[in-house]
Symmetry: C2
Subunit: 457 residues, 2 copies
């Protein structure tokens, strides 16, 4: 077996394992991560085994969770134990929370008593909560220390801390009193006291906060880490910005996939096993298909009208897709704005009003185009018989109705799902489109029956 | 006028402006940002005017760009000049780049000669490039300095630096040699040399890199800032993680809105003026509508078949929506994976193969359900005449064809757009659905003509 990669000057062969190893140990963790990520599992194992212990610990930490999972599957328990114990508590939580209970419990046994207690505690916080993201490795100082003392303390104890870009001041009871960027410490005279640079204010996350809240708090505060406290202000841990960036990208990917009408993938698209991909896609597609079957039933109800005026069938795709498209715009706008915390449930009436007017406006635009399309073809090519003017009006009113209805449903559905405690992103564009398809047909044929009564129908 | 907000204990009235002011100056910048963001413009102005100069400078920096723009519109030029000159170079670029040329040039005139030169340089980098995000305020040290000297240097010069979480080592020609996290400096003995802790390696962004590349580099490297270099390794500036988080969220929002078939909004959904919102939505809706009008033409071509077998019309929405839904899954998966750098254009054949098999699998699933739906209704309710078995087969084969076709187009279109230099996210789900609607009808009626020839048609 040979391993090719632009980063590798020396190729792997069973004879030159030492040279191969040296070259790998000379790479930066970031490059190693990229190299390992791009390989199949068997090559990943060879590369990872060739790393020195320090390098393997440094690299493992930055590998995506699904690669970590694959790697530890066939690793000797002793090596897994070393890796797991060395992993930062927050990274460990991330790895363990995705595993099956059995495997998770097995791995937890490998942990030292201390790390075990900590891990069980972190895993005890609800999924998607700040507790699951935090690490208890931070630097806490006291108000009566001098800046010089703080720097000495960091020099001696800072090795364990996840970040030393932020320093916290706590009182005798472990309550958070203030947070400092390291710049405040570094810029202060060595003989000043911590209390001299304190403003006794801080921005913190609550341990029960949703991940989404954490992302938005980071967006609003220019911090590289935020402290996590309980209801009584006790400092429990910190969450760092790089973890938040990762979570933010992951949660956006989930939303994208939800909005496209499928269950979110855990692994990247190309890494996801085919059958898993099919399961995630077929589930929603089938649900949507069953919903869409109602269109056949709805249209069966109007079969008589269609047989009398076949041309009415010609506009069905045009009409239902217009409703679906405007609905998909409205739902995506509302889903995204909710995810960013720009709107909340109590804005529902402002949102509805906005979408009713939007739907009316957009419906008139499309309705007018549709009106002239039918009028033109009707008068020049005689495509739609003698009553083409009435058909034009049918299309005009239907489009206004369907686009308004689509926008309204598109905006309402995510709000409703949120209200019921579901993820609003599940009210995907295809989901909205399906609802609007069925009801859009009813709108179309009702208007047609009214407008064309006595002429075509 | 009174201003209500949970953060405000003292309400604004024209008489108590001093008390109101004191209370505002006591708030954290993060809270002030939240307060100002939630207000209408007239209240924003009152609040902002009530801030002390230092507080207003600190707060302005963190306000969203659209709020910054609104605020400076009616501000005395002198005050605007102070704000602009105090703004970090990268934040200034962000504010200016969205303005009309005229207003931009006016504001640039307010800048001091130094800041002006800098700003013009940064605005000279292409949009969406790393150059537009960077700030030249960083800390650079030399290899022969002692750690103590570095700390003293930071204490004296660090005030101007955007971040002191990272320190860079450069040579006599300004070339980047190494990067240090501040932890490396803080943990090192005071009398050691910078070269003692150096590994002479660094991860850097190129000034011409796309923003997308920067986001993915940050995701892979656990850094709070990355240096920006030119082709010859000269250190030009830095990009910080908090800016990247913001850009990442913004670019995801753009992708969401593109994928939903509309032009991206600059401001949040509820802040966007109604007519702007309509322009952004109506444009794409109209394009899609014109595309969708081809369905009417395509169906006009089969009007004869429909009049002979009206029931064929009943399944049209079911069939075209299945193609659209599977296409929307495929396109969203590919768009997102490209945005995250998981796949590139050279993977096109692997992607195609994956989607052809996916389409086949999903088509068989939906086709089978559709087959039994028609068979059941046909045999029990006699809904579809004597030839219902042949109709069932028509639906079965059509669904396989349409779902495969939808998946293929959905995957191909983003790749094609990327290849042609366009944003792949523009190949929105509705766009794919429209193409698939038109071609899906052709597939349907072609299969129907073949299968039902001699019986129904």
């Amino acid at each position: 077996m040979t391993i090719h990669h632009s980063l590798l000057k020396i190729e792997f062969t069973p004879d030159n394992i030492d040279l191969f190893s040296d070259q790998l140990n000379g790479l930066l963790p970031g490059d190693l991560v990229q190299l390992i990520e791009s390989r199949e599992l068997d090559e990943q194992q060879i590369i990872f085994d060739a790393l020195s212990q320090t390098k393997s610990l440094n690299t493992f930490e930055y590998l995506p969770v699904w690669v970590q999972e694959d790697l530890i599957k066939d690793m000797p328990p002793k090596k897994v134990a070393v890796l797991l114990n060395a992993l930062a508590p927050d990274d460990r939580t991330k790895l363990l929370e995705n595993l099956h209970t059995e495997q998770k419990n097995l791995l937890i046994k490998y942990l030292s008593p201390e790390e075990k207690a900590l891990t069980l505690k972190l895993l005890g916080y609800p999924e998607d909560s700040v507790g699951r993201l935090m690490t208890p490795d931070y630097i806490a100082v006291r108000m009566d220390w001098k800046v010089r003392q703080v720097l000495d303390y960091i020099r001696s104890k800072g090795w364990d801390s996840e970040t030393i870009n932020v320093v916290y001041a706590i009182d005798d009871y472990g309550k958070l009193i203030d947070d400092f960027r390291i710049r405040q410490i570094l810029l202060a005279p060595l003989d000043s006291f911590v209390s001299d640079i304190a403003d006794f204010k801080f921005t913190a996350l609550n341990v029960d906060d949703k991940t989404e809240t954490a992302i938005n708090t980071f967006r609003k505060n220019d911090r590289v880490a935020l402290p996590v406290i309980d209801a009584k202000d006790h400092l429990l841990g910190i969450v760092t910005l790089d973890d938040i960036l990762q979570v933010s990208v992951e949660s956006d990917t989930e939303d994208f996939q939800n909005v496209a009408g499928m269950s979110p993938l855990v692994e990247p698209y190309m890494e996801t096993p085919f059958l898993t991909l099919m399961r995630k896609r077929a589930g929603w597609l089938t649900v949507l298909f069953f919903g869409e079957m109602l269109t056949a039933s709805a249209m069966g109800y109007y079969e008589h009208e269609i047989s009398k005026a076949v041309m009415l069938a010609l506009f069905i795709p045009l009409i239902i897709s217009s409703g679906g498209n405007s609905g998909s715009q409205a739902s995506t706008l509302v889903i995204r704005a909710m995810a960013l915390g720009e709107i909340t449930l109590k804005d529902w009436w402002r949102i509805m009003r906005r979408e009713i007017f939007s739907g009316l406006f957009l419906g008139i635009v499309l309705g007018t185009i549709g009106f002239f399309r039918v009028l033109t073809w009707g008068s020049f090519f005689n495509s739609y018989g003698e009553h083409y003017l009435m058909v034009s009006f049918t299309i005009f009113f239907t489009l206004i109705g369907v686009v308004m209805w689509g926008s309204l449903i598109g905006a309402l559905l995510p709000l409703l799902l949120k209200r019921l405690g579901f993820d609003p992103a599940v009210s995907s564009a295809p989901f909205v489109a399906t609802i609007v398809d069925v009801t859009g047909l009813v709108i179309y044929f009702s208007i047609a029956s009214t407008v064309l009564r006595g002429t075509l129908l």
